[in-house]
C-alpha cells in the first residue's frame, strides 16, 4: 500500500519518467537476455553470424510468433486458446483438399484464412456465447479440429502446392529478409497498435484485470472475447498458409505441440497467465529469444528435445522469480 497522505492537489500524470520505468521493465530484461544469447551464440559457433544462417533461424519461430501475438491478447483477457495448432492442421488440410480440385493460389489463401476464422468463431461462440471455460473448450476443439484432419487424411499427405504459393513460406522480400519475417514484423506492429493504442486493446486489459468491473463499466465483455478468439483463429489461418507453403505438404500431424510453445512464448514475454497485463513488445522479444536459443543449441548439435528442457525451465523460473522475490521482500519488511 502506498501511503500518500500529504500529496499536493495537482496529481502528477506519472509516478516516474517513461524512460526510467522502461529501464526497469520486463522487456528491458528480455532484451539483455536476448543480447547475451546472441553474443554467446556467436562465440559458440562460427556459422552463427552468417546472414543467411541468421535468416534461416527466423523461419523456425515466425509462424509460432504470429499466433503468439493474438494469443497474448487472449491470455491478457483472462482466457486461453489451446486449439491454435489444430486450427493450423485443419486450415492446412482444407487448403490441401481444395488443391485436389486445382484451385489457384489466391483461393488457397482465402480458404486458409476462412477456415482459421471459422474455427475461431466456433471457439468464440462456445466461450463467449455459452460462457464455457476456454481451457476445456479449446482442449476439446484441439482434438476436434486436428481429428477432422486425421479423418480426411489418415496417414496420407497432400502435396503439390503451386510454386507461387510456396513463396509465402520460402520467399524472400529482399536479400536475406524473408516474407515470413516481414509479415511477422508488420503484424507485430499492427498488434502493438491494436493492444496498446486502441479502445479495443484497453478494454482487453480491463476485462483481464476484472471482468465483472469491466461489465459494470459498460463494456460488452462477451463481444470482446468473441473477437479475440476470431483473432487467434485468423492468425492460426495465416500461420497455416505460411507453414504449408514452407513445408510444401500437409500432414495431419502438422504443427503438433505448437500450442504449448506458443503459450510459453507469450508467458516468457511477460504476459500474466491469469490475465490483465502484458505487452506485444515483450512477446516479440521472447519470440526472438526462443528462436535464438533453438538456433544456437541447434548449431551446437543439441537435440530439440533438450531445448525443450531449457524452455520449460525458463517458463517456470520466469514466473517463479517475481513471486519468490515478492515473498522475500515481504519477509524483510515484516521483520522491521
Amino acid at each position: 500500500m502506498n501511503e500518500v497522505p500529504q500529496t499536493p492537489r495537482t496529481i502528477p500524470d506519472r509516478l516516474e519518467s517513461p524512460f526510467r520505468s522502461a529501464l526497469k521493465s520486463w522487456e528491458a530484461l528480455l532484451i539483455v537476455v536476448a543480447v547475451a544469447i546472441f553474443i554467446a551464440n556467436s562465440f559458440a559457433s562460427p556459422y552463427f553470424l552468417n546472414p543467411w544462417s541468421l535468416s534461416d533461424a527466423t523461419f523456425n519461430f515466425t509462424e509460432k510468433a504470429i499466433i503468439a501475438l493474438a494469443m497474448a491478447m487472449v491470455i491478457i483477457s483472462g482466457e486461453i486458446d489451446l486449439s491454435v495448432a489444430s486450427i493450423i492442421a485443419l486450415a492446412s488440410t482444407a487448403m490441401g483438399f481444395a488443391l485436389q480440385f486445382g484451385v489457384d493460389t489466391p483461393t488457397l489463401v482465402a480458404i486458409g484464412l476462412f477456415v482459421g476464422l471459422a474455427c475461431g468463431a466456433f471457439n468464440g461462440a462456445l466461450v463467449a456465447g455459452f460462457g464455457l471455460p476456454s481451457i476445456v473448450v479449446t482442449i476439446g476443439t484441439m482434438s476436434l479440429f486436428r481429428g477432422i484432419s486425421y479423418l480426411v487424411l489418415g496417414d496420407q499427405a497432400f502435396r503439390g502446392y503451386p510454386s507461387d504459393f510456396a513463396w509465402f513460406g520460402q520467399g524472400y522480400v529482399w536479400w536475406v529478409i524473408s516474407f515470413e519475417l516481414v509479415l511477422f514484423l508488420v503484424l507485430a506492429g499492427l498488434f502493438y497498435v491494436l493492444l496498446h493504442r486502441t479502445n479495443f486493446g484497453r478494454t482487453v486489459f480491463a476485462i483481464g484485470n476484472n471482468p465483472v468491473a469491466a461489465q459494470f463499466s459498460g463494456i460488452r465483455v462477451a463481444r470482446i472475447k468473441f473477437m479475440l478468439f476470431l483473432l487467434t483463429g485468423l492468425m492460426s489461418g495465416i500461420a497455416a498458409i505460411l507453414l504449408t507453403a514452407r513445408l510444401g505438404s500437409t500432414r495431419p500431424s502438422i504443427a503438433s505441440g505448437w500450442e504449448l510453445e506458443i503459450v510459453t512464448m507469450v508467458v516468457l514475454g511477460g504476459v500474466a497467465i491469469l490475465g490483465g497485463s502484458g505487452s506485444i513488445a515483450g512477446v516479440v522479444i521472447a519470440a526472438f529469444i526462443m528462436g535464438l536459443v533453438t538456433f544456437g543449441l541447434g548449431l551446437l548439435n543439441v537435440p530439440g528435445i533438450v531445448m525443450s528442457i531449457f524452455i520449460g525451465l525458463m517458463l517456470i523460473t520466469v514466473i517463479a522469480l517475481p513471486i519468490v522475490a515478492g515473498k522475500l521482500r515481504q519477509q524483510t519488511s515484516g521483520a522491521k
Binding site: 502528477p12 500524470d13 506519472r14 509516478l15 479502445n199 486493446g201 465483472v212 459494470f216 463499466s217 463494456i219
Partner: protein, 515 residues
Amino acid sequence: MRLSSLRIAHFHKAQMTQPCLSLSGVSKSFPGVRALNDIALDLYPGEVTALVGENGAGKSTLVKILTGIYQPDAGEIRIDGTPISLPTALAAFEHGITAIHQETVLFDELSVAENIFLGHAPRTRLGLIDWRKLRAEAQDILSSMGAPISPQTRLKDLSIANKHLVAVARALSIEARIVIMDEPTAALSHKEIEELFVLIDLLKKDGKAILFISHKFDEIFRVADRYTVFRDGEMVGAGLMKETNEADLVRLMVGRSVEHVFPKLDITPGALVLNVSGLSHPTEFEDISFSLRRGEILGFYGLVGAGRTEIMQALFGITRPSAGTVTLDGRPALARDPAHAVDMGIVYVPEERGRQGAVIGLPIFQNISLPSLRTTSRAGFLRLAEELALARKYAGRLDLRAAALDQDVGTLSGGNQQKVVIGKWLATRPRVIILDEPTKGIDIGSKAAVHAFMSELAAEGLSVIMVSSELPEIMGMSDRVIVMREGRMAGEFSRTELDAETLVRAAAGIVEEAA
C-alpha cells in the same frame, strides 16, 4: 421439540457467572480506516449477547478477528481467563469458536451430513470415515433440533433457512463453546425466524455463549440477555437487556461522538427524470414504483438484504426484472445490459468496490476514462493526453489523494478508490447516478468529500439515488427516503418527516404501538 439429553448433561448452570470469552483493548486498522478501537466484549456461557451497531461500526471486523481471519493490531483475547491467540481459522475452530454467517458459508455440493461433520468426522478403528455413524449422528442432531432435513440431502437443494439449520447443527456437532450468529435472520421468513429462536434456546441450554448480531430490535429483545453497542469502531455501551429499552439502544447506536456535518444543499427538485413503475423480480423484489426529479437525492434505506441493491442492478441492466416499466425523460429506459444503461445516462456505483467498481490493476486515469473511451479517443485510437486531462479534471473535482495518475487504483485507500469510481461515471455526463452504499468502509475524510460532491452534483441538476444503511447519511443527504423491507417498499418519507427512530422502525417492521 425433543432435546438430546446427552448433550445438555455436560453443562452446569453454576458456571454462568464468569465470561468464557473476553476481549479487551482490541484494535484493528486498515490503511486509511480505523475499524476497531480499544474494544471490550464479554460473552457468557448459556447467554446471548447482542452486538448492535450501524453498518461500518466494526462488527464484521470483530467477527473476522474472532474466527482467525484477521489479526488484531493490539489487545487481548481470553478464553476462561487464559490469553489465547487466533492466528488461523483452524485455531479458532480448535478453540471452539464457530460462526454462522449472514449467508451461511458452507459447501453446496456436499451432503448435509458431511457439511455438519467436515473436518471432525467420526472414524472407524481403521481411521476411515464412518459414514453410518456420521449420518446417524447428523440425524440425531437434526432431529434434536426438530429440523425436517434428511442428512443425505445435498446442501444446495435446501432453502437458506434450512442451510442455517445445518450451520447450527454444525455448531452443535463440533462442541463449539462460542457461537457467532452474524445477521442470521436477514434472509428468513417470520416462521423460520421463530424456529431459529427455538434453536438459540437449545444452544443456550447446551451452555454455548452466543454472540448475536442483528439490526432488528424486536429480535434482540426477544433472544438476547446482554447487549454491546459499537459505533464507529468503538464500544459505546454494554449491559443487561432487561435494564435497557429500544429508545436507549437506538440512541446509543445512532448518536455521534464526532459530529458529522452533512453538506446538503437545499434544492427545489426540477422536472421528472426517472419513473419506475411496478418493477418486480421473481425472487428479489416486488412492485417497486417511484419517481426521481432533476436535482433530487433519493435515499433508499433498509436492512441488509432488503432488496435495494437488486433493484438498482435491475435499473442498470445487470438483473432482468420480470415485470414493470422504467422511463427516463418519458422514454422507455429498461436497460438490456450495463452498456445500454450507460448509453442512456444511467450509471451505477456498486457497493462492492473491489469486485465490481474499480478495475484493480489498471491505473487511475484508465479507470476514469474506461466508460468514456469513445469521447477521449479518435476513430478508436486512444489519445492519452485526452484521457489524462479527463482524469485530472475529475481527480481535482473529487479531491483525489494519489501520488500519480498512472498509479494502480488498487494501491489507493478505499475512499480514494470510491472517488475514482464516481469520477469514472461523472466523466460520462450521466442523467441519473445510483450510489450503492457510497461511503461504506471508507475513512471520515473521504466520506465528507463524497457527501460534499453529491450535494454539488444534485445542485448542478444531476439526479441521484443513494442506497445506504447508515442512518445519519440517509437523513443528512436525502431529499426523500424510501424504506425497503423484504423486497417491498415499506414507506416513503420527505425530508421534513425524517426521524431516525421512524426509519429504523419502518425498516425493521416494528409496529408503532410497541414504542
